[in-house]
Amino acid sequence: MGTVRLESVHKAFGEATIVDGLDLECPDGSFTVLVGPSGCGKSTTLRMIAGLESVTSGTITIDGTEVTNKEPRDRNIAMVFQNYALYPHLTVLENIAFPLRATKTSRDEARRRAQEIADSLGLGQLTHRKPKELSGGQQQRVAIGRAIIRQPSVFLFDEPLSNLDAKLRVETRGELMAIQKRLAITSIYVTHDQEEAMTMSDRMIVMRDGKIAQQGSPAEVYGRPESVFVATFVGSPKMNIISGVLNKGHFASETGESWQVETNYSGSALLGLRPEDLRIQPNPSGGATITLIELLGPRAVVSMDFYGNKLTSVVASGDLGLFSSGDRVSIDFDPHSAHFFDSATEERLN
């Protein structure tokens, strides 16, 4: 139904390529997140799906109909912007009802439906207020209400939570996901926050320089990153990368340490270890020196210096007694949890 498909979508401004031959498909009812660093083309892609940016080449299909050259209003989509774009001169009720003015819906019917939606979002008492009298969270819900009322095929979100403070962001995240599940409308969500992407998406699409670096479920992207870029972008604290050489089931770091591994590859490689997979033991002749310990409640992040590289390990708070800043530790890991990447191409080996 509300399937969104992009085929070879290309966007260039003069000499600069913003989006480079993108192919992606969002199944009906799914929650897809486009995530990536600044300038990767995720917002431009979203805007092309919305019809706010023209497509240099390629096609965009929504619900089986090609919409590549259609105006936004003909695409049956709804969009929530980063700053919510609420109409300052209209009340909450009028804001929510506004999209229906473009249809043949009667004024009364529009108000009725808007009131219903307002109530369902907890805004029932605020319908006569103007946007500037609302809190950030309330404004966001008005924006969502306005998006819902047209019963679109696709929801588009452009970093809608960036303007909220951290605590509110987490709460609203949950609310958004619940609404999406309930309405089962295909949603495409853009963010630069990988944590948001991980927690909210069914499918995560990591973008870089206008191309897709990797797409898949959050578990797939987190568990089997296909490149160093994706490996270090997704997951906080960042994955540790150690360069060295693989040879006959052993990985030897440039600095002389060696560990047993389970892979047949040989040659120079980059070893990737998630902080939670990097185990440390106090060892006076260990290769790493602890530089910083940050307590995060049940866990702690231990930062180390390993021959000039910064490594992090996540340790249970209960074990903190063993470590102090300045101690030397040795590093170990379960071979199953090791990620290996080619030194030259930075792509996954195992």
């Binding site: 706010l52 209003r73 969009m79 912007f81 774009a85 109409y87 506004f98 473009a102």
Partner: protein, 271 residues
Amino acid sequence: MVRQQLKTSLRVIFLLAALITVLFPLVWIALASFKTAPQLNDPSLLFFEPSLVNWKFVLEAGILQAAGRSAFVATVTVAISAVVGSVAAYVISTYKTGGSATKFGILAAQVLPPAVLVFPFLTLSYVLGVNDTLIPLIFAHLSFVLPVVTWFLIGFFDSVPRSLEEQARVDGFTRFKAFLLVVMPQVYPGLGAAIIFGFTLSWNDMFYGLILTPPNSTILPVAIAGFNTFRGVELGSMSAAILVAVVPVVIASFFIQKRLVQGISGGAVKY
């Protein structure tokens, strides 16, 4: 502490002096409009029996008709400017239509000395046979009011976030509807100020009025100039005529002061 008080007193005195300088001529004229000819000969006369003879004279001489013509020309000019200017200012601001050249042209047109344009208006009005109507004057006024209104509005449109229009387009509206229903309402206050300012500019013009209107059915500022002789009674009537021109505009000015600066600088300065 004493130093502060001294500073404050000096400041208050200074502002008071400025106020007096501003109000003095206006009060003088107001008083003069109620003086009879012999009373006018005595500049020191402050308290006197007010007389309406000047006002009667001025009304009979057709000052209200002149004012009416001024109002008519100003209203038509401003109406056209508001409509044409709004749509143009919107695309110039949002889509950068016409680029710098258009903006420069608009600025240049506002500050163009009337001497440059008046003769063609005169000649054309004769050639087209409309020299005894107010049409040439309306076009002459459009030549500076339209750019001013557009310039004001560009500045105001600049401060409306782009996402509002995009949201409206996504919500199901055409570009024009999005402009009309969502963007325009945001600039209504600025439009109001621009309209009042444009009206004032047209109302106050004398140069074009002097040259382009027929002598017997002219506009207000020219009519005022017509009282410019020094036979005693004319001075009083001149004062009355001046008040007719001045009072409405000064009152209107109180309403637009805040937005005036943003408009004049084309949005470069917010107040």
